[in-house]
Symmetry: none
Subunit: 199 residues, 4 copies
Amino acid sequence: MARKAGSSGAKTYEAIRAAGLALIHRHGYEGMSLRQLAAEVGLQQGSLYNHIKTKQDLLMELLRGHMQDLLRALDAALSGTEEPLARLRAFIAFHLHYHMTRQAEVFVINFELRSLEPGNYAEIIALRQRYEKCLADILSLGMQLKLIRQTDVQITTYALLAMLTGICTWYRPDGRLNEKQLIDLHTELTLRGLAIDKD
Amino acid sequence: MARKAGSSGAKTYEAIRAAGLALIHRHGYEGMSLRQLAAEVGLQQGSLYNHIKTKQDLLMELLRGHMQDLLRALDAALSGTEEPLARLRAFIAFHLHYHMTRQAEVFVINFELRSLEPGNYAEIIALRQRYEKCLADILSLGMQLKLIRQTDVQITTYALLAMLTGICTWYRPDGRLNEKQLIDLHTELTLRGLAIDKD
Amino acid sequence: MARKAGSSGAKTYEAIRAAGLALIHRHGYEGMSLRQLAAEVGLQQGSLYNHIKTKQDLLMELLRGHMQDLLRALDAALSGTEEPLARLRAFIAFHLHYHMTRQAEVFVINFELRSLEPGNYAEIIALRQRYEKCLADILSLGMQLKLIRQTDVQITTYALLAMLTGICTWYRPDGRLNEKQLIDLHTELTLRGLAIDKD
Amino acid sequence: MARKAGSSGAKTYEAIRAAGLALIHRHGYEGMSLRQLAAEVGLQQGSLYNHIKTKQDLLMELLRGHMQDLLRALDAALSGTEEPLARLRAFIAFHLHYHMTRQAEVFVINFELRSLEPGNYAEIIALRQRYEKCLADILSLGMQLKLIRQTDVQITTYALLAMLTGICTWYRPDGRLNEKQLIDLHTELTLRGLAIDKD
DNA sequence: CATGAATGAGCCTTCATTCAT
DNA sequence: CATGAATGAAGGCTCATTCAT
């Protein structure tokens, strides 16, 4: 349901996406009603359907859009860095930054996959696997080059992603530690855990 | 009809809890209907209310029961071990074992806190904090004794718990790696990340 | 469902009647649930059915019992008085006294006739007509003897009964006027309205 | 389907009010179900909620509307009449006429106050007191001017209102006596009961 | 007699969705 | 495009009643 930019409806559609994201974040997909959403945007219930196809479709658009953004941004963040440990550092910094600045999106994608219909679920999972594969590839290459300890790539990928993603459940911009401190802490924890001592 | 021969209150209640847990795991709390639940247990909808007070109350009983089990089991698992690194190893092994064997419960507690009413939420969060504090105390003592690198205890606790808990989203008993292998992998990753090199 | 006096169940039955009357007075027949009633009496829901046949039957027993008491008491109150104006005074005094002392019963009979099933309704209405006829007969005889103004007996009966019955909606034993004062006021109002001036 | 051709919101709302009034009159508020009401109006149950907020709200709208009509109509009926006995006659005629022509409304307001939630109850009672005060003021002034016997104003007000209101429980337009005859009968009964003999 | 567990119908209300206007 | 009124299914929960224990 992407809208033509510039039309007056595009603004409404963006408002629906924004409010929908916030409401799903707050109440969950099942817990959000289209009544609420319409009220938030200042429309009648029926008018939503001039902008979205169904409730499920709205969720799907949000998740797909998010995953595409995420993958694009990851590519940009890693481009130009080739050395595996440097790429690992870059990945950690990118993931944490993204999860701190787009908390609602990442929260929803972690908690609402369950609400997707099978076909939609498969599509999003495929995108997520592309993301996971990027980290797995870094680890694989690092192990080949003896920069990273030999271990199970798949499980380690899951472990790292779980650790780095957890931040979206508790991070507050006005918290005790700032973004850089958090990135440093996680980077050190990860690299000490994985890198091979040089000397 | 009055009562099915052979049924007994306590057995029915256990059946409701078990089916409720499974359905919440599968569809989420908001996504599970009491109609489904009743059907699963082989009752009329209204009969559920001979055993539970409300739907919310069922969720709460499940979560409270789970947290109490978890805390009791943790105490048992750590008792007798004093040295911080040994306690850390024991904690990791316990947490992973528990999260592999009681996947539904831990999944629900991680994904459905949002569905608790404020009072219930506070109660469960308090129990969870007792659990987190146990890990935080291990880290604190380890740092004091110079066995663990100096770092932020709170954030490190969150990071480790997120990593170790992630397993409940993907672990399958018939997976490629067995329980011991998974525990070893996470233990090594964690201890290399945190422990101070001796020598 | 009258019970044998003296049995231990008789006490329970009386407790059910009393609590039932109070609850119907407070919430109405439709508004009272047998759950509430059982709780009030200290029984489980199912146990009520050892004492009453159905909810409707309980209402009916209450109303029938009340109407029989009322008719018996009226007979007693009027017996020995023959002169029509004296009988009218006696009727007024009796009716008011009864409606002040058994407010719940009279309230229920005035507000819950509607909740009776057709057969029961007819039975109670028949009893009530016997009561109304008593007043109508007094008025008729008074008119024949030229003690009471010529007017429509039926309508006047309704008007007087409505007026005298109204007291059950607002009377409080600790109110500003006592029973005698209220009886005097209504008696004077009625007799001036009806009696023929002598002289 | 979306909307039945020809239906309009205001008309549907009026149909709901009318059917609601009739059903509450017949079965009581607790005894009327919204299923019945919807069927009576030719809607699905849920569609009622495009027009009313809740069942309680429907009752409240009916009662409030009725009380406002009643007060407005009373003002109109008494305006221009100053002399207390004439005002009393006008009050009686107005009250009876209104209670004969809007039987359902007045029946409901007399029998369903009990079903109002506390806040709503207070609001309606306040309106009713304005109505009662109008009669009480007539009586007070009449006593001051020695046109009406000295007696308790409050209780007499209650007594008269109860008597005059009773008509809504039995009046039928095709009954033995017509409206004028009934008004005359009640007027004479009341005035003889209250007025001071002149000569 | 009392209990507790069951029934099946019914309660008020909300849901996502449709569509004539 | 927006609205308001409709749909039909489903939501959680309560009801009076029954009956094996």
